[in-house]
């Protein structure tokens, strides 16, 4: 996290009036970076994000102060696209995201960023012989503008970061929630957990069918033990998956229909008709194995290999 300090020499042609104050603020932020960082480390925003060590919070505060100094030096106090922010954009985004994860709303984050202004302004005023004089006032105004811009930068970063996060989580959820497991030669299973909506059912169907090809499966087990409710839509999805698997040459078994769900299915008048069902995943596997000529029984007390190995084709 390096911030070039040399830019303070560059002079912007625009904002000629604001420039002296902006340059003064920039110089102040450089000069007092350490104190500002120390004070910010105790502010709600930094304190709650960097819970492990205060040093980390101070370090983050230094970086933000340095970035603000660079922005002020460029004279673009109210420009959220000012290049000076680039150095800390990622960090600010992470901080905002971390606050958002604790359940604080965007307003709250904005207030916490706004609260960083006062500690810095206090230090700034102390720089002047007359803290209420026109020169001091002008600088405090410049700092206020700058801090307002910082708040916008944080909010903007937070919004785009959370959008990305949501999209990524949604994708991960779909993938993570539908692992296809190879239980045996030619037998795959998907233990479904949680609510099945349309999008997820689609993912389940696709990953199960892909697994059938990859594992050359003859039997595919859809275990719905972990599915809280089965309505007609879910039942329809299950039947579609069964039908698609059959078209590919695999037999699909739905297992884990709990008594309550069985009742619902009957009440709703859903006809699972041709769908092969078994009470538990174990029963479904036993069925698949027996169909493949694999016998399951107590292991012979002594002697040769168990039948389970010999029978696999």
């Amino acid at each position: 996290m390096q911030v070039s300090v040399s830019v303070s020499v560059s002079v912007s042609e625009e904002n000629a009036e604001q420039e002296p104050a902006a340059q003064q603020v920039s110089a102040f932020l450089e000069r007092r970076r350490e104190q500002i960082a120390q004070r910010w480390a105790d502010a709600a925003l930094f304190r709650t994000v960097f819970t492990v060590s205060r040093d980390e919070a101070v370090e983050a505060g230094r970086a933000v102060a340095a970035a603000l100094a660079a922005v002020a030096a460029s004279g673009r106090l109210d420009d959220i696209r000012a290049s000076g922010f680039e150095a800390v954009r990622d960090q600010l985004g992470r901080m905002a995201a971390s606050r958002a994860r604790t359940g604080i709303d965007p307003d709250g984050v904005a207030r916490e960023v706004a609260a960083l202004r006062e500690p810095a302004a206090e230090l700034l005023r102390a720089e002047f012989e007359d803290p209420n004089g026109p020169e001091a006032l002008e600088c405090v105004v410049a700092l206020t503008v700058l801090m307002g811009t910082l708040r916008l930068v944080v909010m903007e970063t937070a919004v785009s970061a959370s959008e990305e996060l949501i999209a990524r989580q949604r994708e991960q959820l779909h993938e993570v929630a539908t692992p296809v497991i190879k239980l045996w030669e030619s037998t795959v299973a998907v233990p479904l957990i949680g609510t099945l909506d349309s999008a997820r059912s689609q993912v389940v169907m696709e990953s199960l069918l892909d697994a059938i090809v990859a594992e050359r499966a003859r039997y595919a087990i859809l275990d719905i033990t972990g599915v809280p409710t089965v309505d007609s839509l879910v039942a329809q999805h299950l039947m579609k998956t069964v039908a698609a698997a059959r078209l590919m040459g695999a037999e699909c078994i739905v297992s884990g229909i709990r008594p309550a769900i069985a009742q619902t299915i009957v009440h709703l008048g859903i006809d699972l008709g041709t769908v092969l069902t078994r009470g538990s995943l174990a029963d479904a596997l036993a069925y698949a194995l027996s169909r493949q000529g694999v016998g399951i029984g107590p292991v012979a007390p002594a002697g040769t290999a168990p039948a389970a190995d010999a029978g696999v084709r």
């Binding site: 696709e206 069918l209 059938i212 050359r216 003859r218 698609a244 059959r246 078209l247 590919m248 040459g249």
Partner: protein, 136 residues
């Protein structure tokens, strides 16, 4: 994308390979199949079954990217026609995307035997022709 070669705006021309392996007819569909060609194929297969003594037909569609209701109907009719001539038909190698689409289309081809690939289809026909083993 593979298998779509040979089709131009003017229409491509290629034949569907039909191979006899023992008492099984192996039909390999690939890429684009014009409606007319599908109907011709249906005719050809029925002729072949009646003139030879095959007891099984395996239709390999692993190279087919889409099956619409027309081709679906042709496949079902081939199977039904073969059945009348005492031959069993197995549809082999349907791709997942094709299977999902067919189900969504409402075409589940209930009367058709299916297998994951040609090898499994041959296995199925062999097992079915042996006495004492029931069909699913």
């Amino acid at each position: 994308m593979t298998g779509a070669a040979g089709i131009g705006p003017a229409g491509g021309h290629f034949t569907v390979p039909v191979l006899q392996l023992g008492d099984v007819l192996l039909v390999t569909l690939q890429g684009e199949l014009h409606d007319g060609m599908a109907e011709q194929l249906q005719q050809d297969i029925t002729d072949r079954i009646s003139h030879t003594r095959v007891t099984g037909v395996v239709i390999d569609i692993s190279g087919v990217e889409i099956v619409d209701s027309f081709l679906g109907r042709v496949l079902a009719e081939i199977a039904a026609g073969a059945g009348l001539l005492a031959a069993r038909t197995v549809l082999a190698g349907m791709r997942p995307a094709v299977a999902i689409t067919l189900v969504e289309l409402g075409l589940t081809l209930p009367g058709l035997r299916t297998a994951l690939d040609v090898e499994r289809a041959m296995e199925l026909l062999g097992a079915a022709s042996r006495p004492g083993e029931g069909s699913p």
